[in-house]
């Protein structure tokens, strides 16, 4: 145990797990004691969903080193497929927590498949070109779900694009109604489920990062040519990170959507992708604990600023710019390095 504790990465992951568990226990006991405002209570599940979004994007941006501007697209895929599964299985699986788990798995699998398909062309590109193509895919996914009609009746699922051609039988139900999205969702997402999802994702990420594959992914990030020359398959490992990240975002999307009674495709647009990217950069690239804290704080912050009503988004924007300026100022960095010796070497890896 003592040996384990000395290992820096292991220590770091234990601190992260401990933080998440502690946060869950504290929040859950406050909520149980009735000391929580209902507005905050309603945000617990979205916070979990955004935390998972942030750590999964951090896997792509921080660990794999590729800028993705379309992460909300995977969330969208997860939300729509997962909720469709939840509705379709409403009678088959009456147990709500079990249905939630099945829905999240369906969302993750579909998002993973979409991630794989998108990854084939995307991962051939580099830098800003890769970023713009992920942005383009995010917009395409949004357009498709805005025009998708899925209905279910005795004969099974009916899918049509652009207009409602599902021709359902009388007992049928239109699940996805194009721009209207999905309505009448049973809100089966719970804070506990979100907490477990976060733990599972953290477990997957930490184990990946500390494995042979994870080191290969980071080697590609640090120097692609050098990694290639020692026989690391660039496409394979980049794809691995990309698909795992997409699947996690899909599960987060399902969790998120099952917390509301309706879900529309426009919720998962470019701005959502950017929002998640802001969490990742704020928390520090490759730093999972940072992503978790940033996602939670920045989701609650606009709500906490509600007292300032109209000015809150303006304040949010100013805070964003000022933090970026402060954390990147060379003078401030030098000062910090002098105050906290050894900080630099700890901050550089995941």
């Amino acid at each position: 145990m003592k040996k384990l504790w000395k290992n820096k990465t292991t220590r770091k992951s234990f601190v992260t797990y401990a933080f998440v568990v502690l946060a869950y226990v504290i929040l859950q006991s406050i909520a149980a004691g009735g000391g929580m405002k209902s507005s905050l209570k309603g945000m617990l599940v979205p916070i979990c969903a955004y935390v998972v979004m942030a750590i999964s994007l951090n896997l792509v941006v921080g660990i794999s080193g590729e800028l993705s501007l379309g992460h909300a697209g995977f969330m969208s895929v997860g939300a729509f497929t997962g909720v469709t599964a939840a509705i379709a299985l409403q009678n088959a699986i009456p147990n709500a927590p079990l249905r939630l788990v099945v829905a999240m798995v369906v969302g993750a699998v579909f998002a993973g498949i979409v991630g794989f398909l998108i990854g084939i062309p995307v991962l051939r590109l580099k830098g800003d070109y890769l970023a713009i193509v992920t942005l383009a895919f995010g917009e395409i996914i949004k357009s498709i779900f805005n025009n998708l009609y899925v209905g279910m009746d005795g004969k099974g699922l009916h899918i049509s694009l652009l207009e409602d051609k599902t021709h359902l039988m009388e007992d049928g139900r239109l699940i996805i109604a194009g721009p209207m999205g999905i309505g009448g969702i049973q809100k089966i997402a719970t804070f506990t489920a979100g907490f477990i999802l976060i733990l599972v994702c953290l477990f997957v990420i930490f184990n990946l990062v500390n494995s042979r594959s994870g080191r290969a992914i980071m080697a590609i990030r640090d120097n692609r040519i050098a990694a290639e020359s020692v026989g690391i398959s660039v496409t394979k490992y980049k794809m691995m990170a990309f698909v795992i990240s997409a699947a996690m975002a899909g599960a987060a999307g399902t969790l998120f959507a099952l917390n509301y009674s309706t879900v529309v495709a426009n919720k998962f647009d470019f701005n959502t992708s950017i929002l998640v990217l802001v969490f990742v950069v704020f928390g520090g690239l490759g730093n999972m604990l940072g992503s978790i804290i940033a996602a939670a704080v920045l989701t609650v912050l606009p709500e906490a600023l509600r007292g300032f009503a109209t000015y809150r988004m303006l304040i949010y924007a100013i805070v964003l710019v000022l933090v970026m300026l402060a954390t990147n100022s060379p003078r401030l960095k030098a000062l910090l390095a002098r105050l906290v010796p050894g900080r630099k070497e700890e901050g550089t890896d995941g």
């Binding site: 941006v61 051939r124 590109l125 713009i132 942005l135 383009a136 652009l162 990217l277 710019v321 300026l325």
Partner: protein, 302 residues
Amino acid sequence: MSFLNFVISGISLGSIYAIIALGYTMVYGIAKMLNFAHGDVIMVGAYVCFFAVSKYNLPPLVGVLLAVVICTLLGMTIEKLAYKPLRSATSLAVLITAIGVSYFLQNAALLLWTSNPKIFPSFFKRAGADATQAVNGVSLFGGQLRISYVTVVTIAVCLVIMVALTLFTSRTKMGKAMRACSEDKDAARLMGINVDSTISLTFAIGSGLAAIAGVLLCSAYPTLVPTTGSMPGIKAFTAAVFGGIGSIPGALLGGILLGVIEIFAKAYISTQMSDAVVFAVLIIVLLVKPAGLLGRKIHEKV
């Protein structure tokens, strides 16, 4: 004839994208950053022109000039306050800052001018034969082909800007300094070029062009809200990448192609799916030519 109509409106929309894309491409070429706040500068320009003309009854030309001046100053201020301190920071930090600036501009506009849509006045019309009726375009071939004045002016303005900018970057000292900075900043500094002021000038030109684009955009699509600039901004950025980011002729080509594809997709495929078609074409082009249509392929040295 409808085909020709679509081509012309596509070129017109594409010209607006091209003017916006110029701002992206020049800033990217010189500062290597994606200036996501550029789309919102367009919106500010449109609002300034709107208020100058509708509220203070200034002549349209003065309104446009005022918009250009204010946007130029705005662009230089943003560069000085937000981007200049981050010259040595990672590109991701600069990107997030640009997004912060974009949020700031949108929300400031929301506070100042509310979310109620403003209907942009139409500048390009003349009194018809009947004095009560304004004519806003010309009809050709017995009314089968209609070209509005906005279309004509947009395309003309785009061409003038392109020619002027090409001459500026190839002939003048400032333009050459700009190209030198985008090639190699340190070498340019050694040659006695003031890199900071050159970057500032680039932002000034890009933002001034954004104001013109804003006025043209709102003349063609007259609903003005604080988020007016974001989607055209993203599309123009796509256009810049399409043509090869960093290249001025590339921005023109990318912008016009994107506009034509968008209008064709709307006309022949589906109105709701037009954005998806545009982005799908972009993806295909980038797979075939990873540096855009006219972009330079930079070979990595090991």
